[in-house]
Symmetry: C2
Subunit: 420 residues, 2 copies
């Protein structure tokens, strides 16, 4: 094994693909993450909506590399990079030297300068975010069941989701199904079928990255599930009492945020230019400008396609970038010329509730049942390991057979933010 | 349906069995619990030790009674009972009138007057307790991997479990297996096989409610798993630095408490006599003295058998009491003479790690593999519903096949209590 030390920060889709791509390359790898687990973010909304258990979509990172003695996994919070000394500094921990550094630190949700909204309108990026949303949604129904004031009860039975990208659409669809199909028989004082689920989007249509025809279909599927969709109106205020949408104030106690993303501070650590969302603008080989030994990949990098369009912030793109960076590192070690990065778009999928979905594979566009099956099979396929595939398939099959969600737990006490 | 209103506080084994027993009795039932889920406590230690997911052993209570329109489920925290007005008061909620009240509020862990130990030595009664212990155990290994000071590393790799009843023995066994069998291949800087797992018991033997011969076997099985057992020495201090056991101070960062239980405040709410552990001393028909309309059952009641021995605080005993109280309520409503409560001991089971167990069915006493299979089958059988039985069986089968635990997640950030 050579002495070359590759330090990878972030065990998401990009980071793991990079480590996988360096198998047998004869380098020493240190993989650092703030969490002990890799998270399958595309299904995180299913934890938030009581369909899946946390452990079904998360795997201890170090376990994935138990058979790779070249990989050392560290749980640590990176505080910064010294690009001259070529070191990474961990909070309360050692300083780690690198020969090659790969920053694959992802993104988090952004409130467009209104970070004060976060406590009342949590986003969905971590397992804790998911269990927070799950707790709030379930608690709202519980509190409505004992509420004596009709106005309070109505606010408790109003659920607002902000942002109609895939996550917002998925959340709204499942919360509507929960209220209108799963829960009605279980409450005695309230009629959960009267719960209002509202999806708010500042732009003119839902799922704006899809073609208008598929957006149309998704909108109809949402309406069929009983979701009220408000398009073309920005949210101007979020409080514990409700949401201001254009001129309208909607009293509600449960708000979920799916409206914006902000890159992690990789660009700041390196002191290099970033785009508006904070993504580091990188070279064609995914290295930082002027720092050939530092790669920035995945959601924290701004990469342009030949067409001039940006590479989208999706899991397949992060994986391709991780695999590419591994190729470049291997090529350099053997004195070969590295290839050029080219993003191959494999198609887009989105699901609306338990039976509708849309798929766009370029020339082939699908909607309805077939798209839903493709969505389901693709997601099971991309899970890691037999155990998870089996467990998720079983949870889905169970819901299909019984209509009952399996993970309806209120854990980690917290009350809904009180009124002032 | 008659107007008779039965209020049940607590959705544990006793409370659910009572509600089940009143099916078709023509009464109105309100079931109140602080949590939205019934918890299968006998397997809680498996959540704490990364074997099972939280949702595999917990079920939303209201879902269990979706087909029982006579049952209203409320999420609420009972603050007290007015036995003259015959009402129950909820925190921030309505006051609820009862004709018959059943208190089945269970027990929590007790620190024998040293409640200040709780932050460093958490007990195991709720899902949050389980995920707290899981997080601390996993974090200790993670922090040991980056620790530079050998003394700190050794303290991080020392796990002390206080109390050698079934929970303490089960925790110690699985933590030892985790350290010695599951984790070694995944760490590069530490040898997890050198981790020290110590089970401390003030009394003279482990599992003291079993016969000495079975305790002997359990002690040997613990030793085989690499657990250091300290008998006959009380713990006199717990801090973030370690545990004082007799004259010996053991530096350690992860302490689990499995030493004592304290009944819930049912006796205090009713202002009736209690035993040393706070359990309400009840009449032969499980009603509170002088309050024939108030039953106290399960772990919060002190009930004597004909032999003079107390009814043990185990799930089957709580279930029998719940079923019995339902019979008494039914008999009263129909003017019949209620039966006399008689506890039938169905046997005791305890497990030590992944392959050893002991079973005591009175004349038949078992140890080893057969006892382990009986333990496993009995626990799967007593879970609620096909989905959970299948999911738990799958998790166990997977561990059996792969040796890999499925729920190794560090969630809900918290650092191990810092040194002063």
């Amino acid at each position: 094994m050579s002495d070359h030390h590759v330090v990878v920060v972030g065990g998401g889709f990009g980071g793991l693909q990079l480590v996988n791509g360096l198998k047998g390359a004869g380098v020493k790898i240190t993989l650092i993450d703030r969490r002990n687990h890799h998270l399958f973010q595309p299904l995180l909304y299913q934890v938030a909506t009581t369909i899946l258990a946390t452990s079904e979509i998360a795997w201890p990172i170090r376990h994935l590399y138990s058979d790779r003695p070249d990989v050392t996994t560290l749980l640590g919070d990176v505080m910064g990079v010294d690009k001259v000394a070529k070191t990474v500094t961990l909070r309360d921990g050692p300083t780690i030297s690198y020969d090659t550094l790969v920053l694959a630190t992802g993104a988090t949700h952004a409130y467009f300068g209104r970070d004060d909204w976060e406590p009342v309108a949590p986003g969905l990026k971590t397992l804790e975010d998911a269990t927070t949303i799950r707790r709030r949604v379930l608690l709202a129904f519980e509190q409505a069941e004992t509420a004596s004031d009709p106005a309070v009860r109505d606010a408790l039975l109003t659920f607002v989701i902000i942002g109609a990208g895939p996550t917002g659409v998925e959340l709204a669809g499942i919360i509507a199904e929960l209220a209108h199909k799963t829960l009605p028989k279980e409450f005695r004082n309230i009629d959960t079928r009267k719960a209002k689920v509202m999806l708010v989007e500042a732009g003119p249509r839902v799922l704006p990255t899809f073609v208008p025809e598929l957006s149309e279909y998704a909108l109809k599927a949402l309406n069929d599930l009983g979701v009220e969709v408000r398009l073309g109106k920005p949210v101007t205020q979020c409080t514990a009492d409700g949401v201001q949408i254009g001129d309208e104030f909607v009293p509600c106690r449960t708000i979920s945020w799916a409206a914006g993303v902000q890159a992690s501070p990789a660009a700041r650590w390196l002191d290099i230019p970033a785009d508006r969302a904070g993504r580091a603008i990188v070279e064609k080989d995914l290295t930082a400008p002027g720092l050939p030994d530092v790669f920035v990949i995945g959601d924290t990098a701004s990469v342009m396609q030949e067409s001039g369009a940006p590479v989208p912030g999706v899991a397949p793109a992060a994986k391709q970038q991780g695999g590419y960076a591994a190729q470049v590192i291997r090529a350099r070690l053997t004195g070969k010329t590295p290839p050029v990065f080219k993003y191959r778009h494999q198609g887009s999928l989105a699901t609306i509730g338990r039976s509708a979905a849309i798929a766009d594979f370029g020339r082939i566009k699908l909607k309805g049942g077939l798209a839903w099956w493709i969505w389901g099979i693709a997601h099971i396929y991309f899970l890691i390991g037999t155990r998870s595939r089996f467990a998720v398939a079983w949870s889905w099959l169970w819901i299909f057979l019984s209509g009952q969600h399996s993970a309806r737990l209120i854990t980690q006490r917290e009350t809904i933010p009180d009124k002032k």
